[in-house]
């Protein structure tokens, strides 16, 4: 997969401000224009868009082929559900939803990155981990599988998860509108934070390692550590997405760990654009809208559509929508013969990454 050369994010402050403005407009505009059903639907979009951010960050910027981000989504969701049932107040559970996946990522990442395994192996191991977590949680039916007062419920999942509340007021859970503000507000915040991370020196080194791991090492950076930290950040973001996902329906089941969840988030990033943060959010909304539309007519299975979209983009639009639109926009602005594009550098990069 070719990551666009112009992906260095700190260069496009305009894009950042535009995205931030759009995010704020949606945050405050949606409750005024949508009915309750629509608002709840958009809360789900926001949760999955954050899941997309997680994948977009680790894959597009750190160049780590994590094919099992669903593992962290699920861990976050379950960590929230189990702890909020036990504790009542949602403040600590939200923090746990971020911390538990990060800790898990630290352990898994240590073995992967410090073992110096190949990209293909990282893809397969992360994917396998999520599949096995799915099987593990799926097999926890019965009242003997409980953590504190929370029954894990096996394939039935955990129903009636208490919603978020303002810190210190566990008896006043947020209503649908409140959860919308929490979810969408968190999405905007995480987007800003990730942009800040990428603009920081740490972020530049992460991108530099994606570009040339050997050179980064010879300059004195330890790629294993930077990849591990990026992996943990992405896991924390996915975990928070899982927390919002659990709040969205007040319910969570092992399918959050499932293969199709990992596949979907890969598709969000691929459709939206690898090496961007806006792309994965946009991709999440597009694909989810598509799945909902497909669900309303039962002629075709949604997996078939997802498979076609995935292969279609890999074969025909490998750079994703946002970079394509960006390039078209720049050409329109310039109105001149385009400069010799990044094509040959990109081709070199592609072959380099293919190894």
């Amino acid at each position: 997969m070719t990551i666009p050369l112009s992906s260095a994010p700190w260069r496009s402050a305009a894009g950042f401000l535009a995205t931030l403005a759009l995010g704020l407009v949606i945050l405050f505009g949606a409750p005024r224009t949508l009915d309750t059903f629509g608002l709840v639907q958009w809360t789900g979009f926001a949760a999955l868009a954050m899941f997309g951010l997680s994948q977009g960050f680790i894959w597009g910027f750190a160049g780590v082929m994590s094919f099992g981000q669903a593992a962290f989504l699920g861990l976050g969701g379950y960590a929230y559900a189990v702890s909020v049932i036990n504790i009542g107040d949602s403040t600590v559970p939200v923090l746990l939803a971020i911390a538990v996946p990060m800790l898990f990522a630290a352990i898994l990442g240590y073995f992967m990155f410090y073992g110096r395994i190949s990209d293909a192996y990282i893809g397969v191991i992360t994917l396998t981990v999520s599949v096995i977590l799915f099987q593990l949680v799926n097999a926890t039916s019965g009242s003997q599988y409980r953590i504190g007062t929370a029954e894990l419920g096996g394939f039935n999942g955990i129903p009636a998860i208490p919603a978020l509340n303002a810190p210190g007021f566990p008896d006043e859970p947020l209503d649908n509108e409140g959860i919308w503000y929490a979810a969408m507000g968190a999405l905007v915040l995480v987007y800003v934070l990730l942009r800040a991370v990428l603009a920081s020196r740490f972020g530049r080194v992460v991108v530099a390692i994606r570009e040339n791991e050997t050179r980064a090492q010879l300059i004195g950076y330890d790629p294993r550590l930077y990849k591990l930290l990026a992996f943990m950040i992405a896991a924390g973001v996915a975990g928070l997405a899982g927390c919002l996902y659990a709040n969205w329906g007040g319910f969570i089941s092992p399918t959050v760990f499932g293969l199709s969840m990992s596949a979907q988030v890969i598709i969000y990033v691929l459709v939206g654009g690898l090496g961007t943060l806006v792309g994965p959010m946009l991709g999440a909304v597009l694909i989810q809208a598509l799945i909902i539309a497909a669900g309303s007519q039962s002629l075709l299975d949604s997996n078939l559509g997802l498979g076609l979209v995935l292969d279609g983009f890999v074969l025909l639009v490998p750079q994703g929508l946002v970079p394509v639109i960006r390039t078209l926009g720049l050409r329109l602005l310039q109105r001149r013969a385009p400069r010799p594009g990044p094509a040959d550098g990109a081709a070199g990069l592609a072959t380099e990454r293919a190894r």
Partner: protein
Amino acid sequence: MSAALPPTGLGGAPLRPLIEARGVTMRFGGVTAVAGVDFTLGEVELRCLIGPNGAGKSTFFKILTGQLKPTEGRIALRDTDITGAEPHAIARLGVGIKTQVPNVFNGLSVRENVFVAAGRRKSLARTRAIVDETLTRLSLTGIADRMVGQLAHGQRQWVEIATVLAQEPELILLDEPAAGMTHEEVHRTAALIREINRTHALIVVEHDMPFIRMIAKTVTVFNQGRILVEDSVDAVLADRRVRDVYLGKQAG
């Protein structure tokens, strides 16, 4: 052959070695790429490594920088044993290398390349100062915002040299710095190396003999993984064995 000239500094006084390799051997399966090499380099010394292709020079560089772990032997940088240390750890001790095939961040701009190299554990202001100084020194200011992946081969070589300088190493390894450069660029490179050598130690691998004459004082000749001879540049270039090695390579 390890009877190196006593390393001398600016004042001509003998100094303790900056880098000292003892009995370094590297085997790949049945092939011995480097065989029992003893090598010493003093502070602020400039050394040229020559030898036919496959003599083990680049492999030796990879061992010095930690990209390869030697099968046998020890390497010390001043008082630190760096045998088998990770490349990043060796880099942090002050060793920088320009590799034979340009190793740069293709997807970043020239300035960003240098910034990442300069910025490890330094304040932002200090980093920016190093970046500006390095870009000016290597005449890269004009292309500072171009993507490195879009530059010509020669320019990417300069970018790589810039990243090495920006990391402010004490020992600089240059693997074929003049390869693919124009006549004028070769002269610039030689002048730059002499300038760097006023304050830094360098080891330079090169095939270009006129270039060697421009920069070298002491030359170490590698052949078949061993050190064939180590002497002053004039003595080495007049040495019959050295000519045989190169002629042998040309004939074969």
